[in-house]
């Protein structure tokens, strides 16, 4: 294993920059809500909200979305996928929803997340923020806000570690076995 692709400081700077970009693109925090995809995306969304509060002095609502029931590979793996909690204590209708995830890879998770969101209401706009875009898309999906673009092999294992779950912030790549 090589050293981390991003260390804790890199992750912090990337989140600060994405927070600025969201405020710039959406002209402030008015009507913006953050929805993180569980797990890890929800932790990143909470941090983005803290940054936006620090920069703009506004509280944006933060939710967590579990996309398990919307996956397109149910029944293709030996075990049913593990489910997480969905916790969206606000109405997404008419809002600019920024989906937040740790790694953008095939795009299938984001497709599921958009379907899940549509069942919860009718957002005015959906945008996508990811900490790492590693390429290899299988669907026509791209991110609006990217922490870092990382060229990877298809079989590489790119992992985002967050302090909330893993005890430290970092992005690591493990080469194909």
């Amino acid at each position: 294993m090589k050293g981390p692709l991003l260390d804790a400081d890199d992750v912090r700077r990337a989140i600060t920059r994405i927070a600025h970009e969201i405020l710039e693109r959406d002209k402030g925090a008015e009507g913006v809500v953050l929805v993180g995809i569980a797990d890890r995306g929800d932790d990143l969304a909470a941090r983005l909200a803290r940054e936006i509060r620090r920069i703009e002095g506004t509280d944006v609502p933060v939710g967590a979305l579990d996309i398990t029931f919307y996956r397109d590979d149910i029944g293709l793996k030996a075990e049913a996928p593990e489910v997480h909690e969905t916790r969206i204590p606000f109405d997404v209708s008419g809002k600019v929803v920024v989906l937040v995830d740790d790694v953008l890879f095939t795009g299938r998770t984001i497709r599921s997340a958009m379907d899940a969101l549509m069942d919860l209401g009718r957002p005015r706009k959906i945008q996508l923020a990811v900490l790492v875009d590693r390429g290899h898309r299988e669907l026509p999906i791209r991110a609006d806000f990217v922490g870092k673009n990382v060229p990877t092999g298809r079989a590489d294992d790119v992992r985002v570690l967050v302090a909330e779950l893993d005890g430290e912030d970092a992005v690591v790549v493990e080469g194909a076995r």
Partner: protein, 308 residues
């Protein structure tokens, strides 16, 4: 998880925890405006009920529909079972029609297990004779965990006709597995003789037990048992074991009253007790849908017969 859900007895404590955790996510889906997710799109679930049932059948039907599966309800009356078709032939017919899961209720203990030998579909036991009713036991565990925050260490009394109750068996096995303390309460004629193997305590004195209970689980008394002389009269049963307002007052603060339904108000439970805030009988029904969604999802959401 196993390939089928036949009994609480077959589940490990880890399985139970996974089922309850998954059910929690489905509980949230049940609070949405659109109470439906596409998880089991294109799968077929057959409700094969050869014994009367309202809540279990409807609950399974709703659970499957909220997962976007196609549901077929099939009962003995009005089907070829009434023409004398055997269980095996009926099962093979369902199989030939492409059932991915068969939910079976049958008056003979062990019929779900027998079904697994004939069909490839996942089999879920919705109550077999006096053996088990595992989905009821699981929704009861879910409700206790939701209301009291844990199962381990809870003191639970199961009151009534334990002898004929598949609910009591599934619930007792589940509670003991998860580290709760179970006391069975009822007339000696209605306590099973093999109960020493269950890891539970037995008492014939309801008023002595109630002050030490976190949950008082009341079983349905079937009036026909009286004719079979398990107890002298329904009135005497109600006087000795019925859960009245006065008896509920003996329970610790915050203790729950539960009942699997359908209730005989005035026999095993007084009408005003059933409507107390600490009675969570309706919550049990609501939670039943989420628990059954979790079970269908966990069984059908993985590939069949492979190992991870």
């Amino acid at each position: 998880m196993n390939e089928h859900l036949l009994s609480m007895h077959d589940l490990s404590a880890t399985d139970v925890t996974r089922i309850l955790d998954t059910a929690e996510s489905f509980r949230e889906v049940g609070t949405r405006v659109i109470k439906k997710v596409p998880a089991l799109r294109g799968r077929t679930v057959v409700n094969f009920f050869l014994e009367n049932s309202t809540r279990t059948r409807i609950s399974f039907e709703l659970a499957a529909k909220r997962l976007s599966a196609d549901v077929i309800n099939f009962s003995a009356g009005g089907s070829s079972v009434a023409k004398g078709e055997s269980l095996k032939d009926t099962a093979l017919t369902l199989q030939a029609m492409g059932a991915d899961a068969i939910v079976i209720r049958h008056s003979s203990s062990g019929s779900p297990l027998q079904l697994t030998r004939w069909v490839d579909a996942h089999v879920l036991n919705a109550g077999d004779g006096t053996h088990e009713h595992p989905t009821q036991g699981l929704l009861d565990l879910y409700t206790m965990r939701e209301k009291l925050g844990r199962i381990e260490g809870l003191r639970v009394g199961i009151v009534g006709d334990v002898l004929h109750s598949r609910v009591a068996r599934s619930l007792s096995f589940g509670l003991v597995k998860m580290g709760a303390e179970v006391t069975l309460v009822g007339p000696p004629t209605l306590i099973p003789p093999d109960v020493s193997a269950w890891g539970v305590q037995v008492s014939y004195d309801i008023e002595g037990v109630l002050p030490k209970l976190d949950v008082c689980y009341v079983l349905r008394i079937q009036r026909e048992r009286q004719r079979l002389e398990y107890f002298p009269s329904v009135r005497e049963y109600a006087r000795l074991f019925g859960i009245t307002r006065d008896r509920v007052a003996l329970m610790p603060e915050g203790g729950l009253i539960m009942h699997p339904g359908p209730m005989n108000r005035g026999v095993e439970i007084d009408s005003d007790v059933a409507d107390l805030p600490r009675s969570v009988i309706e919550e049990q029904v609501t939670n039943g849908i989420a628990v059954r969604m979790a079970l269908l999802f966990l069984l059908l959401g993985g590939g069949k017969g492979e190992t991870a």
